[in-house]
Subunit: 763 residues, 2 copies
Amino acid sequence: MRSILKTSVALASLLGLTTVGALAADNLDDVMKRRGLSQKDILAAAKTYTPTGKRDEFMVFSSGGQSGQIIVYGVPSMRILKYVSVFTPEPWQGYGYDDESKKILDQGKIDGRQPNWGDTHHPGLSETDGKPDGQFLFINDKANPRIAVINLHDFETQQIVVNPILQSEHGGTFVTPNTDYVLEAAQYPGVLGRGYAPLSEFNDKFRGAMTYWKFDRSKGRIDEAKSFSIELPPYTQDLSDAGKGPSDGWSFTNSFCAERYVGGIESGKPPFEAGCSANDADYLHVINWKKAAELVAAGKASKINGHDVLPMKTAIEEGILFLIAEPKSPHGADVTPDGKFIIVGGKLDTNVTVYSWEKIKAAIDAKQFASKDTYGIPILDMKQVVHKQVQLGLGPLHTQFDSKPCVAYTSLYVDSQVAKYDYCEGKVLDKISVHYNIGHLMAMEGESATPAGKYLIALNKLAIDRFNPVGPLHPQNHQLIDISGDKMELLYDMPIPLGEPHYAASISADKLKPGVRYKYGTDSRTGDTSPFSVRPGSEKIVKTPGKVEVFATAIRSHFTPEIVEVNEGDEVTFHITNAERAEDETHGFAVSTYIGNLSLEPGKTASVTFKADRAGAFSYYCTEFCSALHLEMEGYLMVKPKGAADTGPDKAKDAVTYTKTDFDKQYNTNIETQKVIDSVVKYIMSTNYKDFPTVVALVEDAVDQLNFAKDAKSKTDEAAKKNDWQQGTLWANQWWQYQVKAADIGLRVKTYLEQNGAKVVAK
Amino acid sequence: MRSILKTSVALASLLGLTTVGALAADNLDDVMKRRGLSQKDILAAAKTYTPTGKRDEFMVFSSGGQSGQIIVYGVPSMRILKYVSVFTPEPWQGYGYDDESKKILDQGKIDGRQPNWGDTHHPGLSETDGKPDGQFLFINDKANPRIAVINLHDFETQQIVVNPILQSEHGGTFVTPNTDYVLEAAQYPGVLGRGYAPLSEFNDKFRGAMTYWKFDRSKGRIDEAKSFSIELPPYTQDLSDAGKGPSDGWSFTNSFCAERYVGGIESGKPPFEAGCSANDADYLHVINWKKAAELVAAGKASKINGHDVLPMKTAIEEGILFLIAEPKSPHGADVTPDGKFIIVGGKLDTNVTVYSWEKIKAAIDAKQFASKDTYGIPILDMKQVVHKQVQLGLGPLHTQFDSKPCVAYTSLYVDSQVAKYDYCEGKVLDKISVHYNIGHLMAMEGESATPAGKYLIALNKLAIDRFNPVGPLHPQNHQLIDISGDKMELLYDMPIPLGEPHYAASISADKLKPGVRYKYGTDSRTGDTSPFSVRPGSEKIVKTPGKVEVFATAIRSHFTPEIVEVNEGDEVTFHITNAERAEDETHGFAVSTYIGNLSLEPGKTASVTFKADRAGAFSYYCTEFCSALHLEMEGYLMVKPKGAADTGPDKAKDAVTYTKTDFDKQYNTNIETQKVIDSVVKYIMSTNYKDFPTVVALVEDAVDQLNFAKDAKSKTDEAAKKNDWQQGTLWANQWWQYQVKAADIGLRVKTYLEQNGAKVVAK
């Protein structure tokens, strides 16, 4: 039962003689009958099913709501590919568990408190000329007003900034057409700077605001010093959008509870919901952010918590802030792709209102105002600036755009429908029922200057009976809708298993160019080379009084070092670099009952610091199943009890003794194994494998493993020279382990070449 | 633009005149051509695609690896329905954020340290007569030896127990056929009780163990006092399984590194992986746990950390512990459905070894042992007890069973294949390639006494090129395989977006009977009525020096109370009960910049306690989009600065004044709205709606809303009597809000009745 590579099965497998399954005898009609599928279902299945290895056309970045994360999925397969941790620690990604990511979470401390969660609402992709460019992703936290920056090179969160003045926000993130600024609007009014004032002074002391975060694309970071806010009335600002084309330089933010009602049901007052929806209209805020930035640069801002805030009074005087009535308790304020219109849905209205930027600008330029609000802000005459109102149904919320001119989609919350309409002509084109109570919706690149059409996703707030029950807490239901034809067609129900998304942003998949490995020794949170990375052979343990610092590497299937001795009470730091280059060869690291988890993707360096406050013998291990001998990728952290005698280096005696016979047996196995490997290598080299980048990468990895095998062979031969059959047999085993890894890769190469039609080009 | 329920669109919508999309003009051939799909792909799509509202046949509970969670998905749709938080805090579920769940996580503190993560490996479903019964789920934590109990009534974690003696584990959780015990095997050897001994004393002082956790089904909890362990040699125990049928009362645990090799690559020794795989065989542990339990009951155990541990010596003397050689670095030890065989795969072997329980038992009864190990444990003669060895390929790992007799499936890690074979005859039946490097596999109820067959899932460890790239950290790839025919067929690739599953357990979906709501006022972590729940109308704020306790309710769309005043430095507790009965009407709760998130499913009471250590005016809000006026579901926590003057109750003045005209307008709207509602009610009542339980529940909810509307109408009328047009108009608005909610439900009822073929039975 020895020597896996010598058997006939092994050889057959390596040389391409695997059993190939015959075509299924099943018949489509039988399957349809058995599963109760209609022809329409089969068409929907064909439009979404994505066979193994095939790619999705679009990628979606959905907020994760109260999970504090971002959800990444593919369209049309509707398969979730990743949860990216943003505001909440998550151990699989090591986020909040390694020292490097703890620094990012620490940036998000708000007034000294680490929330350890976020309520993510509206992801925004970086744009160039109003089109998503696939470089960065932004996301807001409604609960603890913050913005995070995610680098789409590695899908990791690299920055969190705290809003210096808001205690609540909602209307972020929306970017200006070249990502100069990231917009964040307040939600529930508060005292700017998170101060206190009694509710009896609500109208005078409570305020809203718009924050414009300056983004430095070259650094991939928000520049807090160059960011600013504009003070606004306590109107409960909500969603926002940046102008584009003719409206570039302006931004639009809706609001609800312009009544400035403050509830108090406990003392007999009707609740917020009654008083905040009593009036027929709220206000759309129209802001000239370009001029605001100039005013701030000219020193017209006041400082609150060190942050530039342009006072409302100044904004009014300088003519950069206007209001327009918008019906009723609105939710979306969406600028059309050409920048000519702004569409607002009123949750308690049956219409969407299409505002004309041309008319708004004309009224502003002519200073034609209907009135002023309590705070002196000019209010434009709604009738004068509205292009159309389109009656859609109950509870219009949020709007996205098609690639076809003038075609928009608006979610109808109460009706549980999506309405398709022509906003130029004001004509309803189609409606489709969704399940149930849709919040936002999202068409492919549907908020950009050049929407891609094809698909639309309904972000439904209730699933109720759509899926197998999983207890009182239900998944959300994202429904994929085909919008390529005249009529919308429901294609797929996707449950969201974790978190409640509010909005999503999409991008053509070919615009994303993420890496699959890091440059050797990268701190992924800064993007720079980690000062703590080491190369294999340079690993070290540095001890200073009270502190042990371990500079380690990880590679299939061992850590170096394997034994670390510390004293009880020491502060211990492990810096570990994954020395792999192979795609998907991630290692993990945890010390049992102490710390974890580090996620070490190829090339990454991550660190973890902890106090060894309990004596004992604690194993550490690789937490990612990385190879056949993954479970053997282990080590021991030996925490010597306080006051224990120093008995010198602590070495285990081998329990098993190996003889020359054992040595010879393993040695011969390895020689035979090498012959098999050579034959596989010969086969690969005979093909046009260089035409397949994936295979070239695998071959590179196999060559690495074979070089490691050579090193282990040298150590084997060296021991044999000294007749040290113990070390010799063990190193021969290690040599064989590298051979097995090379063979494993060889098998994958073979499969790939077979499946992708490689040709034999040489004998 | 007022009065949404009066418009023609609204009426049309309510009365069933919605636009129905025409059948798509697309043709299946066109779609196949466009998307590059083969006929085989279409068949696979038809076998997996699950249209809106249709249910999956099986439910899978997969471990979440380093995420510390459980992943729940449906088969054959392969849609992930829920991540259940177990060892890691997760804010969407409020897990680790509300006081109730913090207590569960606190149970998992290990030697005073809260790991805040876990490395979940092997979920186990509770069984009755060896078959999964859908009541409870167990899961282990490899990193911090612990077991968690999840109640499948609500899919929530209700207990975590800490292993009192192990510092590392792996081979859990596996249950005995009636869930009397939950098995947990050690992994890396340590000093029992997590003590210290130098590695030079590895063979003498380091130990493995098996822990048998007593499960009290009536309480749904592990009974720690009645649980026990058996001391084992330091052989790095691994996977386990409980016997059944003829082998009931026994358990089987494999091991690797029976060489007891301790690495030290940093000091020139070959690494663990070399020394731990040097020998041809490791040991299968065969343990009579029923007799062990009797011995423990008879007082034969020693106490370590207060826990009963049966010494190895006693286990040997009493004849309950045996070893059998197993080739080589094995991973799975799986008992066949009839309990007659145990199948072990050796990762570095090409065979699986099928052991005969009959032969093992006979050898034990006859005391026919080949030898003893170093520790005096009898070793059975492998040749004498093996039924068959079946040569499958490279890296056999783990085995599952088909509904067809004698048919098993074993994962082949190195070959990246699944082998199907007849273990009675020792004959390979089929093989299929998977992508890539499969770890465990899982057939439907494939570890039970009555496997269900039909589908098998390959839990592949590498995805590499299977999906759209999402950075260096790749998703895992679970592949669904059709095993209903003679040949296995690959149906679907499912990416795992978060965590690295190791094993999964499945159950026929119809065996699960989760609830959709809680009994009013339930603490979901205990399952009992919360002492902190209140009914609507009984909400209160209890102030004692230094402490404010709020007993609140949540219902569409307001909290009661809405304004809570505290002093800086107070300890504040919110106890909130969700007063909804409607399915999926979850509310959430967060105080901006302070705390969150609570997840309040219908009927649940949850609490959160925090120190109001920063003065200011902080909004709180519902974090789940629960209704059209969800954003208006808000309140204020007013934290008065230290030393601020007490100015009496802090009430906001209404910014808007309402007149009799406003009042009349709203009143009339409500009367008109009621007419529409009445007509919808009439329509519903005319149908056979009582035949649809979902509709009955919705109608119940609508009736609730209309009753609330009546209450609000009374308040409206009362105010009007006093000519209080301010309060009158606001309460009229609240009355209308309840009407809108009732209408929303009415729409859902209508849709449901239409889609499910309701008939008009009365005029």
